[in-house]
């Protein structure tokens, strides 16, 4: 592979990423602001509780946050502020958006990272083992459980895990405790149930993909050649089969990662009370807190773009035949 070719490729992709980011900000802003909803709508429930005339309250709120100005003016101001590194003020949480993201990203990150590790490592191992032991009892058991894993909705699994392991057995707290030190065994323990909840469905999927991909490769000529050369089976599987079988799975994992970042972790965060970006974005959407929604949408888009780029780069390492020059 030519080094310069890959560099140019990366620069080109990053330029596209910038254009996409601009598009994401613009489209999200317009969609949120041209809709009939206003960030002041949510006050109505409380206004009726305090029996206030709503129009004055809504005017007050809109005027306070500059929402009464024309949309183009709001958009222009938003872009100017963004160019200065000011991501805006979150109406629904009363703090700078960037501060909000800084405080909450880590909760989502640790959950997603551990879930992906749990799902991909176990899923791939079980899938390969299942393929190697095709049509044995082990294969049937793995297949059975992987179908169950795919079928179970994670909100149901989460609630069941809480009822069994927290309420009945008392092994875990019923909710995630943000007071625990981030790098501690207690924190790791607190994440066990959320990670199983989020990771089980993905793990089951990876098991199926890994089994199928391994079976494809086991029938290839290069495997027969390796075996004919007298290589031990673990070398054939570990060196020749795994390296080829894992390529499509990496693509799937990267897509899953994007999906999880965009909201897949939300339900798990809700069930276990984890204040991650999923919850932040969900609440922001319902509060019409558009500076937060735009920022999180942008982060999601960037994660998708960058993971795709990372996948492409990993491909060149795993498969020398792939070149970008």
């Amino acid at each position: 592979m030519k080094r310069g070719g890959l560099q140019n490729y990366i620069i080109r992709r990053l330029f596209y990423a910038f254009l996409i980011a601009f598009g994401v900000v613009t489209i999200t802003f317009i969609l949120l602001r041209i809709g009939p909803s206003s960030p002041a709508d949510k006050y109505l429930a409380n206004i009726s509780a305090r029996t206030q005339d709503p129009s004055q309250v809504i005017e007050a709120v809109e005027s306070r946050y500059g929402l009464d100005k024309p949309i183009y003016e709001q958009y222009f101001n938003y872009l100017v502020n963004l160019a200065r590194g000011d991501w805006g003020w979150s109406f629904s949480t009363s703090m700078p958006v960037i501060e909000l993201i800084k405080r909450h990203w880590i909760y989502s990150f640790q959950l997603i990272l551990l879930s992906m590790l749990f799902a991909s490592s176990l899923g791939i191992l079980i899938g390969i083992y299942s393929a190697v032991k095709q049509y044995t009892r082990t294969d049937y058991i793995a297949t059975f459980f992987s179908f169950i894993g795919i079928s179970i909705p994670n909100f149901w699994l989460g609630i069941m895990l809480i009822l069994v392991f927290s309420v009945q057995l008392g092994w875990f707290k019923t909710y995630y405790d943000t007071g625990l030190p981030m790098f501690s065994l207690a924190n790791l323990k607190a994440l066990i149930l959320p990670v199983i909840t989020l990771g089980t469905g993905m793990m089951a999927g990876y098991t199926r993909y890994a089994r199928s991909s391994t079976l494809d490769n086991l029938r290839k000529d290069f495997v027969k050649t390796a075996r004919a050369k007298g290589l031990p089976e673990h070398v054939v599987i570990g060196k020749h089969v795994l390296r080829n079988a894992i390529l499509p799975i990496i693509t799937i994992i990267m897509f899953d990662l994007a999906g999880v970042v965009f909201g897949g972790a939300y339900l798990t965060e809700i069930i276990f009370g984890i204040p991650g970006l999923g919850r932040v974005s969900f609440n922001a959407i319902f509060a019409n807190d558009y500076p937060v929604v735009i920022t999180i949408t942008l982060i999601g888009a960037m994660v998708v773009l960058l993971t795709n780029l990372a996948t492409d780069i990993v491909y060149t390492w795993l498969d020398p035949r792939i070149r970008y020059d």
């Binding site: 009939p36 909803s37 709508d41 949510k42 006050y43 109505l44 429930a45 409380n46 206004i47 009726s48 509780a49 305090r50 029996t51 206030q52 005339d53 709503p54 129009s55 004055q56 309250v57 007050a60 709120v61 005027s63 306070r64 003020w89 109406f91 629904s92 949480t93 009363s94 703090m95 700078p96 909000l100 405080r103 909450h104 609630i159 809480i162 009822l163 927290s166 309420v167 008392g170 707290k173 019923t174 909710y175 943000t178 965060e269 809700i270 069930i271 276990f272 009370g273 984890i274 204040p275 919850r279 932040v280 609440n283």
Partner: protein, 587 residues
């Protein structure tokens, strides 16, 4: 010899002590009785599945949770208990009101301090009112609480400083509920800090002192510790709390409000003992009442649920007729509704004033939907009389519109609530039994607001609002709407926004001149006499119950669960009025 003599003396002494009568004990004065106060211990965790607060900078808040969070660190002038007795908080003595009801003299305690040790003075209150709450630059959300109508103009009340601890509020018109609606809930900002941000909304909005409540000093039972958005709000015991100097209150070292994404997760946490208190749904009450270690209190609320009839021109024309509305309400069985949908945790409602209110009355109030006034046959007769039916040969009545077509009504409700969906189905079934078909439309709240509640006169250039006059109609037609409102039990006149002809939230188009007059009356000099005010509220209740602009369904009761070791609770509508006195009992 000497030793023998001592032994004999001791022996004789022992004998005499056994034989002689015991001298009466000398009475000693009892040590002064020391009242035992609970021990300060433990972290109290309250669970909630509602939304998080928006800000601790409460002058910018419009949501109840923000006021509740800030209120843990800073008290107001006074509060009520469950029996509506006033308990002084920052007030040194009760507010003095002039005989004409126009001048309020307010005297605050002299031992209140900001965090930096500066005394809290009447000047801080006057500054908060005049320079912050009444200012144009800040646009305080609830300014109307402090305004009055004078000769057609809306003006602020006048505020005047008297001395270090006293200030005066003057009105130009009497309003006996002003003290309940505004004065008692007043809380100050520190003038010496706020003055730095005065006039600069952005700086005020982002001020760290106000967003982290670093100024609250001795003003509340707790001090701000930590707030993780969408997760938890933590306050810690305030050792300088002005009410705690004699009693040692509050008795928890920390008070945590923990937010849950679902009520199922919250109830699991309660069952596992991970939280100490939360509200529970009616269908869960029986389960939790059986649990050892959990106690459940059922208390009245200030809410009521109702089916609003559209009285505007784009509603079914029959709804303009009072007898038709009465007939509809007469066909919906409130007791069945309470038993089956509210699981028995509600009382039947006939008007908007809740039962625990001192102004509640049943005298002369028509009780549609219960007893004799729940009668589907009579309802049909009334519809027939109004021209919406035909008597068949067998004597039965078939209901139809004036053109002989079946009556179809559109019932609008919000998605995402099992309760409102249950109510919708119940109403459909009940009205179906008298021959009225009900189609329902479920939609998100913002859609309901914009398309069904906001209105304008067709063809006019009005901005859509909730009440743009009697000829205004919503974008989409509708006939009935399932909603829930609240009434301030001690000052129900705030509900005027729903019931007076030009009320800001009267989106349904109800109008009754006498009701308008009476709502003006309860905020007048005559109503300073509680008996007069009670009569006025009774007449309002009677008129509204008679007019039936809505079918008032029930006053729901709420259920609160606590771990059994939490003591000091005073169960009632204002459950938390004394929460600084709650404590953990000894195991």
């Amino acid at each position: 010899m000497k030793r023998l003599a001592i032994l004999i003396i001791v022996f004789i002494a022992l004998l005499t002590s056994c034989a002689a009568p015991q001298p009466a004990p000398i009475p000693r004065p009892e040590p002064p009785a020391q009242k035992a106060y609970p021990e300060v211990k433990g972290v109290f965790i309250e669970g909630t599945s509602g939304g998080d607060a928006e800000t601790l900078n409460w002058l910018l808040a419009a949501d109840a949770t923000s006021f509740s969070y800030a209120g843990q660190c800073i008290d107001s002038l006074a509060t009520y208990d469950n029996d509506w007795n006033v308990h002084l908080r920052h007030l040194a003595k009760p507010v003095e009101i002039s005989d004409d009801g126009l001048v309020y003299t307010i005297t605050i305690r002299d031992d209140l301090k900001w965090t930096d040790g500066t005394p809290v003075t009447a000047e801080d209150y006057v500054y908060t009112l005049k320079n912050l709450m009444f200012s144009d630059w800040l646009n305080y959300t609830y300014q109307t609480d402090w305004q009055e109508e004078v000769e057609g103009e809306t003006v602020f009340v006048e505020v005047e400083l008297v001395d270090e601890t006293t200030f005066v509020i003057r009105r130009q018109t009497a309003d006996p509920e002003f003290i309940d609606n505004a004065i008692y809930s007043l809380t100050p900002y520190p003038k010496h800090i706020a003055i730095k941000y005065e006039g600069d909304l952005e700086a005020f909005t982002e001020a760290e002192e106000f967003n982290n409540l670093t100024y609250t000093g001795s003003l509340g039972p707790y001090r701000f510790k930590e707030w993780i958005r969408n997760d938890k709000y933590v306050v810690e015991r305030n050792p300088d709390f002005y009410l705690g100097q004699l009693t040692g209150a509050p008795y928890f070292t920390e008070y945590v409000t923990k937010l849950f994404g679902t009520s199922a997760a919250m109830l699991a946490a309660l069952e596992a003992g991970d939280i100490h208190h939360c509200g529970i749904e009616p269908e869960q009450v029986a389960k939790f009442k059986q649990m050892e270690g959990i106690k459940v209190y059922t208390v009245p609320t200030r809410a009521y649920d109702l089916i609003v009839y559209n009285l505007r021109p784009n509603g079914w024309e029959g709804l303009q007729n009072k007898a038709v509305r009465q007939a509809l309400s007469m066909s919906i069985d409130k007791q069945t509704f309470i038993d089956q949908i509210r699981y028995g945790f509600a009382d039947p409602a006939f008007s908007f004033i809740p039962m625990p209110s001192p102004w509640y009355t049943e005298e002369g109030v028509s009780k549609f939907g219960i007893g004799d006034l729940y009668d589907k046959e009579k309802a049909k007769e009334m519809l027939l009389e109004a021209g919406y039916g035909t008597r068949e040969g067998d004597g039965s009545i078939s209901i139809h519109d004036k053109d002989g077509q079946p009556i179809k009504l559109t019932l609008v409700t919000t998605t995402g609530s099992k309760l409102t969906e249950d109510i919708t189905l119940f109403v459909k079934q009940e009205l179906g039994e008298i021959g009225i078909e009900v189609d329902f439309k479920l939609m998100p709240w913002p859609t309901q607001l914009r398309q069904y509640m906001m209105n304008k006169v067709p063809g006019s250039d009005q901005e859509p609002n909730y009440n743009n006059g009697p000829d205004a109609v919503s974008e989409e037609p509708w006939d009935m709407m399932v909603l829930a409102f609240n009434t301030h039990p001690i000052a129900p006149s705030g509900s005027r926004v729903f019931f007076i002809t030009d009320g800001g939230l009267n989106f349904w188009g109800y109008s009754n001149e006498r009701v308008d007059e009476l709502f003006t009356g309860v905020r007048s000099k005559e109503a300073i006499d509680p008996e007069v005010r009670k009569q006025m509220y009774a007449e309002i209740s009677q008129l509204i119950a008679e007019d039936q602009p809505a079918d008032f369904l029930s006053f729901p009761r709420s259920n609160s669960a606590f771990q059994a070791n939490v003591e000091g609770i005073d169960p009632g509508m204002r459950m938390g009025w004394n929460y600084h006195k709650w404590y953990f009992a000894e195991p």
